[in-house]
Every structure is written in structure tokens, then in C-alpha cells.
């Protein structure tokens, strides 16, 4: 089934209109030596019924958060998603629309993105936000580019408590550029010490990148870190503070805009986007008004139509690759339109109190569970610092054993920090546990039972 509708008879009429007798004439420009003799070695075309059968079967080979109580985080969180979002997002008018370059044919998407931008700016306490980037880590790389371009400096300080994927993406991003990436090393405390920032910063420092909550779930002293860098730079542009944030935490805890950040970037997945194995997600990017012309990605503005009615359109497109080429602020050519739409629908439905309740329940349940775990013989919390909804547990047995025991209790117990997926940032007995509002007391009791069982099996 190839979804075409032109009949053989119509095909002949069309060939006639072109003045040829065979469709091969249209492919004659391909030199014979490059013509593929075919056919492509692919499975034969399948009917929808066959595909439904097959896909339904393949999906059952997964065992994820749809059937198990998920205590896994590490950059992707199992939050509640109101049912209407899937329904609304499926409307063809949203799903099958194009990038809104033609404003008069795209007012729906444009207004939704404008509202999304406003919500993200308000949530983060920043002045402005764009219509989204690919995902959190590449958004952090874009923030660093903005800092390099706006300060003209060539050194960046990065906390080693960023998620390892973010560090990896930053390293890849900077690998061919004349930029020095200096790691801010943290010890057993798991948080950046502002005094270390002060030591590392100099006049050539373009920015300081710190995540709060960080990869261990801990809340960092953003104000202290950004302030320390600024104090140290006495010449030229002051270094920018780049905060990596969790949008849910912003509803409860001091957001980046109130913590001295110049740019705030984050993973938007917690805002109504399913886990779906890590993508598609959406990168959030907010900043201060002064950086508007250096922002990467798509930006929607409010304007008016010829009759003076409010109307929306893309703005400052001269920043973008399709106008500016090599001098563009980024090569990015898409936003994550449908995901931004999900996020804005989610924020509109939850409202300020609902979002605060999501964040609050995540906080309370995580703290309760952390307290219960530390009462278990052999188990303890690795860090003392304040955290939001995620924390590292040191186990009396390898974390993998706890995860195995969890599966027997129908829970996904957490993230093993000693695996390749987490760049082996932890020892084999360290388990990262995240708790969202979705986890009930019963779920947590099952996890506690699994932890006891794993220890008993030792």
C-alpha cells in the first residue's frame, strides 16, 4: 500500500499531456550506469491489517512504564498526561500542517507556539523563549553557542554534574571549534562549589553551565555559581550563566530566572510528552530580552493583519539558516512543533495550581521514599544536599540486583549509574531513583519490598 490514487488510465492521460509515452523518459537524466537494477531488498509491501497485527506483536516485546511502576528518571520522567492531549494532537489540522512560514495559512500553529513561548518564559522567570529545539542536550549546546557569540570569549566552564548525555553532546559540539571546555569537578558532595567556579573563571570565560536539579537530582547553588564567575571576569563582556532546568520543578522551586541565569535550557519531556524511548522530546530555550537576536531556532511574534486584527507570524527570520546561511545563529530548521503543542496544552490544562501540585507531590513522595529507604538495613542516600524528586541510593548489592528484584515486584526500580547508558558516572551499587506524582504509596511499598528482597538474597 503506497497511498497513491492515480489510476493507470489517468497515468496515460498525464503522460500524453507531457508529450511522452513512457514514464521512463522522466528518469532518462539518470545515467544508465547509475540506474538501480533493483528491486530493493526490502520486505514485501504489507496491508494495514498485517501491519496492525505485526506492530501489536512487536509492542508486546517491550515491558515499560505502561505496565510497570516507573521509578526511572535520568532525564526522562513518567509524569501523568491528561487524556485529551493525545486526542487533540491527533487532529489533522495540527498533525499534518507545515512549518508556519505562510502566516495567513498557519494562525493556529503560530498562536499555539506564541502561547507556548509565553508559558515557558513565565515558568522559567525569563523574558522570552523560543518555539522549542530538538531536545535538552542540544539546546544546552545552542546556549553555549549563544554565549560564545555574544561574549566573543573562548572558554566555557561546565559542571560535571550535568547529565552525561549533555556533557557528551557539548563535547561533540565543541570538538571542531577553537573553544576550551573546562569541567567543574565535584566530589562526594555531588554539587558544584561556587568557590571552584571562582577559581576556574577568568577574563576569557564565556559562560558557566550548571544544571539544577543536576544528574543526581540535587539542587545547585545557581546564584552562587553564576555570581562567582561574574565577579572574576573584570574585563570585557561578563560571562553568561546558563542554567539547565526541569520545567516541573520550576512550578515549586526557584526558577532559573530568579537565580541569576542569562539563558535557561531544559528537556521539555515532563510537560505532557510520553517516554517513547527518548524521543521525540523538545528542547526548551529561554533567555533575557537582550539576547533575542542571537537566539537559535524559530520564534513567533504577535503582529496585526491588514485590517488591524491581532495576528501572528514568525519573527526575526534573518537569524535563521534559510536567510543567513553560514552566518545564521544555528543550522536548526525545525522546531518540535507537535511536542511544543503538547507542552502548551499540558500547561494550559494543569494551570498554575495543577502544575504546582504535580511538582509538590513529586517532591513529597520522593522525600518520603528517600526517608523510608534510608531506614532499610544496608541502604543509604549518597548525598546530603537538597533534592527535588530524584536521588542516589547506595545499595548493599549491585544496583542491577535491585533492578532485577524490582521486576519481580512489577516496578522499574531506578537507573543503574554504572552502565554505558549513564556513562558509568556511578559505582555498581549506586541506583538513581526518581519519583513523580504518578507513584502511589502501594508502588513505593513494592519498591521497598524489592529492595529488602535484593539485600536478603545477598
Amino acid at each position: 500500500m503506497d497511498y497513491t490514487s492515480i489510476t493507470p488510465e489517468q497515468r496515460s492521460r498525464m503522460l500524453q499531456a507531457i508529450g511522452i509515452t513512457s514514464i521512463d523518459a522522466l528518469f532518462a537524466a539518470i545515467p544508465p550506469q547509475f540506474r538501480f537494477s533493483g528491486p530493493l531488498n526490502l520486505p514485501p509491501g504489507a496491508s494495514e491489517l498485517e501491519l496492525q497485527r505485526q506492530l501489536g506483536q512487536v509492542a508486546t516485546e517491550n515491558h515499560g512504564a505502561d505496565t510497570l511502576a516507573c521509578f526511572m528518571g535520568g532525564g526522562a520522567y513518567d509524569h501523568f498526561i491528561p487524556a485529551f492531549i493525545d486526542q487533540m494532537i491527533s487532529r489533522g489540522e495540527f498533525l499534518t500542517a507545515y512549518t508556519p512560514y505562510q502566516a495567513e495559512a498557519s494562525q493556529g500553529s503560530l498562536q499555539a507556539f506564541f502561547e507556548f513561548q509565553t508559558q515557558i518564559a513565565r515558568l522559567t522567570g525569563m523574558d522570552i523563549a523560543n518555539a522549542s529545539l530538538y531536545e535538552g542536550a542540544s539546546a544546552a549546546a545552542e546556549a553555549v553557542s549563544l554565549a560564545l557569540n555574544s561574549t566573543g570569549k573562548r572558554r566555557i566552564l561546565v559542571a560535571d554534574t550535568l547529565h552525561p548525555d549533555y556533557l557528551w553532546v557539548l563535547r561533540t559540539h565543541l570538538s571542531d571549534l577553537p573553544v576550551e571546555m573546562v569541567m567543574l569537578k565535584t566530589g562526594s558532595e555531588g554539587r558544584v562549589n561556587p568557590a571552584d567556579v571562582e577559581k576556574a573563571a577568568d577574563n576569557d570565560t564565556a559562560c558557566v553551565v550548571v544544571a539544577s536539579p543536576n544528574v543526581y537530582g540535587l539542587l545547585e547553588d545557581l546564584e552562587g555559581c553564576f555570581g562567582a564567575a561574574r565577579r572574576k571576569a573584570s574585563e570585557g563582556a561578563r560571562p553568561l550563566g546558563i542554567a539547565v532546568f526541569n520545567p516541573i520543578a520550576c512550578a515549586l522551586l526557584k526558577p532559573p530566572g530568579l537565580s541569576g541565569a542569562d539563558v535557561a535550557v531544559g528537556e521539555g519531556q515532563p510537560l505532557g510528552v510520553p517516554l517513547q524511548f527518548g524521543g521525540p522530546y523538545l528542547g526548551l530555550f529561554a533567555t533575557r530580552r537582550e539576547h533575542i537576536r542571537r537566539m537559535p531556532g524559530r520564534l513567533v511574534g504577535r503582529s496585526a493583519d491588514a485590517s488591524g486584527r491581532p495576528a501572528y507570524c514568525l519573527i526575526l527570520q534573518t537569524r535563521e539558516q534559510h536567510i543567513r546561511g553560514a552566518k545564521a545563529t544555528s543550522n536548526i530548521c525545525t522546531n518540535q512543533g507537535l511536542l511544543a503543542l503538547r507542552a502548551t496544552m499540558y500547561m494550559s490544562a494543569m494551570g498554575p495550581e495543577g502544575l504546582r501540585n504535580v511538582a509538590g507531590q513529586s517532591w513529597h513522595k520522593a522525600h518520603w521514599l528517600a526517608g523510608e529507604i534510608s531506614k532499610l538495613p544496608g541502604y543509604g542516600l549518597k548525598h546530603d544536599g537538597p533534592f527535588f524528586n530524584e536521588f542516589v541510593v547506595t545499595c548493599p548489592v549491585p544496583a542491577a540486583n535491585v533492578i532485577d528484584a524490582g521486576r519481580e515486584h512489577n516496578v522499574l526500580a531506578g537507573v543503574d549509574l554504572s552502565t554505558d547508558r549513564m556513562s558509568k558516572i556511578g559505582d555498581e551499587n549506586e541506583l538513581l531513583i526518581a519519583v513523580t506524582e504518578k507513584r502511589s504509596r502501594a508502588d513505593m511499598d513494592r519498591l521497598l519490598d524489592a529492595m529488602k528482597q535484593a539485600n536478603a538474597k545477598r
Binding site: I30, Q54, T96, S138, S175, G279, A304, D305, M350, H367
Partner: protein, 516 residues
């Protein structure tokens, strides 16, 4: 042959009285009414969603960490749903309208793809779960990888890039790492023809490479200019040549073999921008005509939805000697048949995004390729090319086409370019023509690219002959209107949900957030 469904709009718009009622049917297209922002609809204290009561003891939040609730709108559930329903009614979409949008391949988005992507087994998979619990997901990724490799005629794919531009960037990183491994770090220059996508030079800049433009006077890469630049810059400074083939002038560059030879003789690599793959599926393969690396845009070629600007996916495929440098991890099938993520790739450029790629998009891509099969994909390209040439043939008497020239054997690939000079000389702008098409319920084609004052038209294979004919009729009617009353086009569109939007004013005083 003409089968116009509805009369073309003429004269002044029939403006109807705006309705103020929240529930009126005033939001169907053609009615004109401003939709207030969601912030203006906020009703403090209203709630759309509740959560269960907290079932454990709370823990106090220290005052120095706490923040006030964010300033978000407050609405009931029906009001939320109505807001987005109204917004959806203010959009063009493939489901509702024809999008002859060159280089964007706006084909039908099959709903079986969407169905697949919402299966709980797929949506519920956490990216850090053990391989044993995500065999279904890894199977789809592995099979997608293998199918994309086969269609490209190249050796190994990476599914990690999030979009086409991201794929370009990733592939350039891979190529640069390859040359670095050979000690050829001086290869930092990337050539591209004048009609390349804007993302090409922008991706170069992000990789610290210098982009150099090669002339493409008649749509084809100028081989003499290519040789001259390589000679002038020094062959050992050239990293790659980025080409789109078929190119953005709507032509398959038959000299691609010569281009590949010139590039390879310089020791550089040939990169194929796969934006136009929809024209050559199963007809020729990039690997067969000399490409060393390429990206796909799954939202173009493989029917994944554009979604109002994303998400896309930009998987890349490379020749064997580049494979060790692909992003980590790679999805593989082990000897026992199980699927796994392989991190043992010591030469890898690293990661270009968190986790592993746009899985939800790749799943739709898998579903589409499996639906079509080899035969279906070849038919897709045949009908995409046939439809483009049909439109070009029917319009060429009124709309000049600088590259389409059947007498010289220059047929359109799956898109064609028109520079309607005769019409533009009557005192209308290209924008007037584009906006007038909106009144006919047709999304305007790509504009001013690859050359100034052009429209680039790509119908795709999924449109019916009836729709193609309606487009021809609309274009001819607009040409007639320009001949008889050119001034009237300045008011277009008159039947959209808004009049022409002031984009110049929007840039002069940027307002990216709601103030109030």
C-alpha cells in the same frame, strides 16, 4: 479535464459579522474572527485536571528554595479543548488542503503510522531500561536502520540525528573525524552549489568548516567552477562537496558521476543532501552514484507528519570507512538474535543528542516503508515525478520555467521552478500570487528559492489528478486576474482567517510573549 469543485473567490471578501459567542460556528475557515489568547481566557480558580490526594506524609519545602506558582492561565477542561479546537481550525493542513511545497514533500501522512506510535508498549519504554525489556523498540530501530541502508545503497546508518539539518551536522562531524584519524586535519573546506539548502552552509559553520559556493548557472553544478575552486583552495584543504540530487532546480544532475570523480580525486568526500529522495526511490541509489554519506528527512520521503514544524528525523547513512565514526551507541543484532545498543565504538564522534534518536518518528518511518515495500516505493517516485511534470507541462505557457525544458530532455524531477516574469511585470509581486493561492484553499509553493522571484512546486505522489487539475485551474485563474486587474491581488488573501499579516512590523517591534 477541469473539475473545479468550487467557484474561485472573486471581488471583495464577503465579510460576516464577527460572533462573540464562545460556542458559535464562527471559526470555520473563511470566517474572520480574532481568537483571543489563552491568557485572555483565564478565569482565576478554574481547574481542568485534578490529581489524587497525597497518600504519604508531606515534607516541608525550605523557604529559601521555594517559589510562587507560575503565572499560567486557569481554565476548565471544556474551555481548554475549545481553545485548541478553534486554533486547529485556523490552520491549513495536508488533511484539508493541497501543499505543492517544493523541497518539502508534503505527502499524505497515513494514520496507521500514528496508530503505531501511540501503542502503549512503545510510548511507555523508558530510554534507560535494560535491553531485555525493550526488544520491541530495538527491533524497530534495527530494522529501520537496515532498510534505510538498503535504500541508500550505503553501508551503515545512524538513527540519532533529530532532523535533516542535524543529520548534515552529524555527517560533517563524522567526515571530519575520519580525516582527523588520517592526519588530514587541514581539510576544513566544504563546497556546495549555489542552489544548496541554507542548512548546508549553516551546518558547516557549526562544525568549524568553511562553506564555499560553487556556481550552478543552469541548475547544474558548474564542473569548471568546481575544478577551479578546488585548484585555487588546494585539493588537500577540501573536506566534502554537499549536493542535493535531484537538485532544487528540479533536475537530476546527470553529471553526478563526474562530480564524484572530481571530489574523490581531490581526496574529499561526496555528501548527498537527501531532501529530494522522493524522486529516486528504487530508481538509483546515492551509494551507486558516488555519495559517501547522506541524510534522509523522514518527514519528507517517509510520510512522517510535519506537525506544524516538527518533529522530524534525519537519519544518516555512510560508506563503510566512515562507519566507525558514527554516533554512539549503535543498535545491533547479536548472534543469539537479540537486539542491543553497542557502545564499543572507540572512534565515534560521540553523541549529538540525548538518548538515541526520534524513536516515535522512526517507528512511523518503519511502518511506511513496510507498507510500501520495494514496489510501492518505486511507484511513489514514479508518480511523484509524473505529477510534477504534468503540472509543469500544463502551466508552462503562462508561467515561465527556467530549468524545465522537455525539448532538451530536461524534465522535472519531483519538483519544478517557475519564475513568472511576464506576470510579475504587470505590477504584482510574487507574494501577491502566493497569498492569492490561499484564497483557493491551496498552500503557496516554496518562494524565492533557489532563485529570486521563483515558486518551487512539488505536488508529491499522493494527490489525485483532480487536485492537480484544480491547482492548474487556480494558477491560470490567477494569471487571468493579473492580466485584468493586477491591483486586486494586493488585498489577497481575502478568504483566510486573517488578512495579510504585517511581518515587517512584527520584526520592527518583536513581541514574542503575551504582555498582560
Amino acid at each position: 479535464m477541469t473539475t473545479m469543485q468550487s467557484n474561485p473567490p472573486t471581488g471583495a471578501a464577503d465579510k460576516k459579522t464577527p460572533h462573540d459567542s464562545e460556542t458559535s460556528a464562527a471559526h470555520t475557515r473563511g470566517e474572520r474572527r480574532h481568537e483571543p489568547s489563552i491568557f485572555e481566557k483565564s478565569s482565576p480558580g478554574a481547574r481542568a485536571v485534578g490529581l489524587p490526594e497525597l497518600d504519604i506524609e508531606p515534607t516541608a519545602i525550605p523557604a529559601d528554595l521555594a517559589a510562587p506558582a507560575p503565572r499560567l492561565p486557569e481554565l476548565g477542561m471544556l474551555q481548554v479543548i475549545r481553545h485548541y479546537t478553534h486554533l486547529s481550525q485556523r490552520n491549513f493542513s495536508i488533511d484539508g488542503e493541497f501543499y505543492p511545497l517544493g523541497s518539502c514533500t508534503m505527502k499524505f501522512n497515513p494514520r496507521i503510522n500514528e496508530w503505531a506510535a501511540t501503542l502503549p508498549g512503545f510510548t511507555g519504554a523508558h530510554p534507560l531500561q535494560d535491553d531485555r525489556d525493550i526488544q520491541g523498540t530495538l527491533r524497530i530501530m534495527y530494522e529501520t536502520r537496515r532498510m534505510l541502508e538498503e535504500i541508500a545503497g550505503l553501508h551503515e546508518a545512524s538513527l540519532q540525528p533529530a532532523a535533516g539539518a542535524h543529520g548534515e551536522y552529524t555527517a560533517l562531524k563524522v567526515i571530519r573525524a575520519y580525516f582527523r584519524s588520517k592526519g588530514e586535519t587541514q581539510r576544513t573546506k566544504v563546497l556546495a552549489p549555489a542552489n544548496a539548502h541554507g542548512t548546508n552552509p549553516a551546518s558547516c559553520a557549526m562544525c568549524g568548516a568553511e562553506a564555499i559556493t560553487v556556481k550552478a548557472p543552469e541548475g547544474y553544478t558548474d564542473l569548471d567552477d568546481l575544478k577551479r575552486i578546488i585548484e585555487q583552495e588546494g585539493p588537500d584543504t577540501i573536506m566534502a562537496f554537499m549536493i542535493t540530487n535531484p537538485n532544487t532546480a528540479g533536475l537530476f544532475d546527470g553529471m553526478i558521476g563526474e562530480v564524484a570523480d572530481i571530489i574523490h580525486d581531490a581526496g574529499a568526500l561526496l555528501y548527498l543532501d537527501g531532501a529530494n529522495m522522493n524522486a529516486i526511490l528504487g530508481k538509483t541509489r546515492p551509494g551507486d552514484f558516488g555519495a559517501d554519506a547522506m541524510h534522509y528527512n523522514t518527514h519528507k520521503t517517509f510520510s512522517t507528519p510535519h506537525g506544524g514544524g516538527g518533529p522530524g528525523a534525519g537519519p544518516i547513512v555512510v560508506r563503510d570507512f566512515l562507519a566507525p565514526f558514527l554516533p554512539v551507541p549503535q543498535v545491533v543484532q547479536q548472534k543469539d538474535g537479540a537486539f542491543a545498543l553497542d557502545y564499543n565504538r572507540p572512534h565515534s564522534i560521540g553523541k549529538v543528542r540525548s538518548f538515541f534518536g526520534q524513536f516515535g518518528v522512526l517507528l512511523r518511518c518503519w511502518t511506511y516503508i513496510r507498507a510500501c515495500g520495494a514496489e510501492g516505493l518505486e511507484n511513489v517516485s514514479e508518480l511523484a515525478v509524473l505529477s510534477a511534470n504534468y503540472l509543469a507541462a500544463r502551466l508552462q505557457n503562462r508561467y515561465e520555467m527556467p530549468f524545465f525544458n522537455p525539448e532538451k530532455g530536461r524534465y522535472a524531477a519531483h519538483e519544478f521552478v517557475t519564475v513568472p516574469e511576464t506576470l510579475l511585470n504587470k505590477g504584482v509581486t510574487l507574494n501577491d500570487i502566493a497569498k492569492r493561492l490561499i484564497d483557493y484553499g491551496i498552500h503557496p509553493p516554496t518562494m524565492h528559492w533557489p532563485v529570486r522571484n521563483c515558486l518551487m512546486v512539488e505536488p508529491t505522489e499522493t494527490e489525485s489528478l483532480r487536485t492537480l487539475d484544480e491547482f492548474v485551474d487556480a494558477m491560470l485563474a490567477i494569471a487571468d486576474q493579473i492580466e485584468s486587474d493586477p491591483e486586486s491581488l494586493a488585498k489577497a488573501p481575502q478568504h483566510a482567517v486573517v488578512d495579510r499579516v504585517d511581518i515587517v512590523g512584527a520584526d520592527r517591534k518583536p513581541t514574542p510573549v503575551f504582555e498582560g
